[in-house]
Symmetry: C2
Subunit: 138 residues, 2 copies
């Protein structure tokens, strides 16, 4: 199953990109795309969002197992940032041992939907990138 953007003509892509990259006059001079990419463009944010989007909710260590290679520190730090941005919600259950569940907010889930396009692209074109890299190395 794939959810993809309709494959547009090159010109349509260019037109859409021109509009997206414009800096709104009333926005204080900052491009919203820049703003958002600065937030989720780090090493772990998108991976966490994608994994959270695949489930209803996940506990801290469940999430840690899925995001292979992430350290405890970075998972904590990144989750706090995503929480501050309103993309991830955090629920603490007063039990012992403690249980904490993370889930995407509505905002975060809408982002996950947008990121599916990247995910599909990555799944389909990873071999092409690997091939290009091998070619370039020579």
């Amino acid at each position: 199953m794939n959810i993809t953007v309709a494959d547009p003509q090159p010109h349509a892509v260019a037109k859409a990109l021109k509009e997206i990259m414009q800096v709104p006059e009333n926005g204080g001079g900052i491009c919203p795309v820049r703003d958002v990419l600065d937030r989720i463009g780090d090493k772990w944010s998108l991976l966490i969002i994608l994994n959270l989007g695949a489930e209803e909710n996940l506990r801290f260590n469940e999430l840690r197992r899925r995001v292979e290679g992430i350290s405890q520190r970075m998972l904590t730090v990144t989750l706090r940032n995503l929480e501050a941005d309103g993309l991830v919600g955090r629920t603490v259950y007063a039990e012992v041992p403690p249980r904490v569940e993370y889930r995407l907010t509505d905002l975060g889930r809408s982002l996950a939907g947008a990121v599916i396009g990247i995910g599909n692209w990555a799944s389909q074109h990873a071999p092409a990138i690997a091939a290009a890299r091998a070619r370039f190395a020579a």
Copy 2:
């Protein structure tokens, strides 16, 4: 104008994400999404791709002016990486003063199409993120 993914049901998003995040058995144990995000998840790659996607081609300093804040060094470095990944093409004209044009390859343009979803999301939800951040700061 917007090119968006069809707004799917939450369950459809989850199902799509589960498939995307799976590690293929034959892929040597690496998730293609991880692989791609490690490449384009740096500070400048996506911005360069988006700007190149908005035009047929751009010269070095044209591109530099559009990607506000990038240093000459990082523009060079990032362009070389994108070239190595087969996303950007580079054409040198033997003139004086020298002229070098950069353009997306077909592969790069297909990625730009996928990133439009993020761009649209960013344009639409940047205020929501800013609001969440302000709320969280308190």
